[in-house]
Symmetry: C2
Subunit: 172 residues, 2 copies
C-alpha cells in the first residue's frame, strides 16, 4: 500500500508475502480496507510519531512536514481513496475510524495535551479542534485539490494557529 | 438534492421538473454530478453569502454556522458523497472544483481580502490558507466523523484562528 497504493492490493498477495493462508487473514480482517488500514497505521507509526523537544510549535511543524510527504506518496493516495469509498460504505467508514483515524487523533491529543500542561497552549483551547485545523486542513486540500499542499502551506497552518491572524494591538 | 440528497436524483426527474428534454440537459451537463454541483452552487448562494458588517470575525462566525447547518442536511450529505466518488473519478473531481469548490473559495477569498485591507487580518497572512483552517476543518470532521460538528466547534475554529492558541505573554 505504501509503495503501490490500493489498486493491486489483494488478500492473495498479502497472504503470499506474509506466508499465511487467506483464511487466516480473513479471520482477522473482514475486508481489504480493514487489512490495509491496520497495516498502514502501523507502517507510518514511526514516520508520523511526535517528538517532544519541549517546543510544541516546532515539534508539530516537523511532524506536519513528514505527514505532507507521506500524503504525497502512494500510501496517502490510497488513504484518500479509502476516505472516498467510506462515504457510501458504512462498514469501511467504521473500519477507517477504528483502525486509523481515531488512533492518529489520540496520538495528536496526547502531544497537544502535554503542551497545554507545560503552558505552551492556552488553557481554554480544546485540543481536539486543533487536529482539524492542522491535519484536517491538509486532508481538505488533498481531497479537494483547488490549492496545492506545499511546505509553505504547512508552515502557514502552524503560524496562523499559534500566532493568531489578528493584527498585533497597537501600543496606546 | 437539497431536500433528498443524491440517491434519487436522475436526469429524468430534473427534465420533468424543469419542463425541458433530457437532451437539453445533457447538452449543458455531461454528468449527473456536474448537474447536481452546478445546481447546488446556485441553491446555497444566498444561504452561504458573506455579510460585511465591518466585523470580519463575527461575519465569518455567522457564515460558518449557516454552513454547518447546510452540511448537516441532505445537500451536505450529497456533497460528501460527490467528494468521495471524486477520489476515483477524475471527471467528477474536475467538475467538483470547476462548478463548486473553486467558486466557494473565491467568495471566501474576497471577504477575507477585504478584511485584510481594513486591517482586521494581519498583513502577512495568506487568506487561501484560512479557508482550509475554517471550512476545511468542517469538511474534515464531516468526511471522517471521529468528532461531531457542533456549534461549539464552529466557535472554536474562529476563536483559535483569530486569537492564536499561544498563552498571552506575561507582562514583565
Amino acid at each position: 500500500m505504501l509503495s503501490e497504493g490500493m489498486a493491486d492490493l489483494t488478500f492473495e498477495r498479502v497472504a503470499k508475502a506474509a506466508g499465511v493462508s487467506k483464511t487466516t487473514l480473513y479471520k482477522w480482517w473482514q475486508s481489504l480496507g480493514a487489512l490495509a488500514l491496520d497495516g498502514y497505521f502501523h507502517a507510518v507509526h514511526t514516520t508520523l510519531s511526535f517528538a517532544d523537544t519541549g517546543d510544541v510549535r516546532e515539534d508539530l511543524r516537523d511532524q506536519l512536514h513528514h505527514h505532507r510527504r507521506v500524503m504525497a506518496g502512494p500510501g496517502g493516495h490510497a488513504l484518500l481513496e479509502l476516505i472516498g469509498a467510506a462515504q457510501t460504505d458504512p462498514d469501511l467508514a467504521r473500519a477507517y475510524r477504528a483502525l486509523y483515524s481515531s488512533g492518529r487523533r489520540e496520538l495528536a491529543y496526547q502531544r497537544l495535551t502535554r503542551a497545554k500542561e507545560q503552558g505552551q497552549i492556552r488553557e481554554n483551547v480544546d485540543v481536539r479542534v486543533l487536529v482539524d485545523q492542522l491535519w484536517g486542513a491538509v486532508y481538505h486540500r488533498s481531497l479537494i485539490p483547488d490549492e496545492p499542499v506545499t511546505p509553505e502551506f504547512i508552515d502557514a497552518l502552524v503560524d496562523n494557529l499559534f500566532d493568531g491572524i489578528r493584527p498585533p494591538e497597537r501600543k496606546p
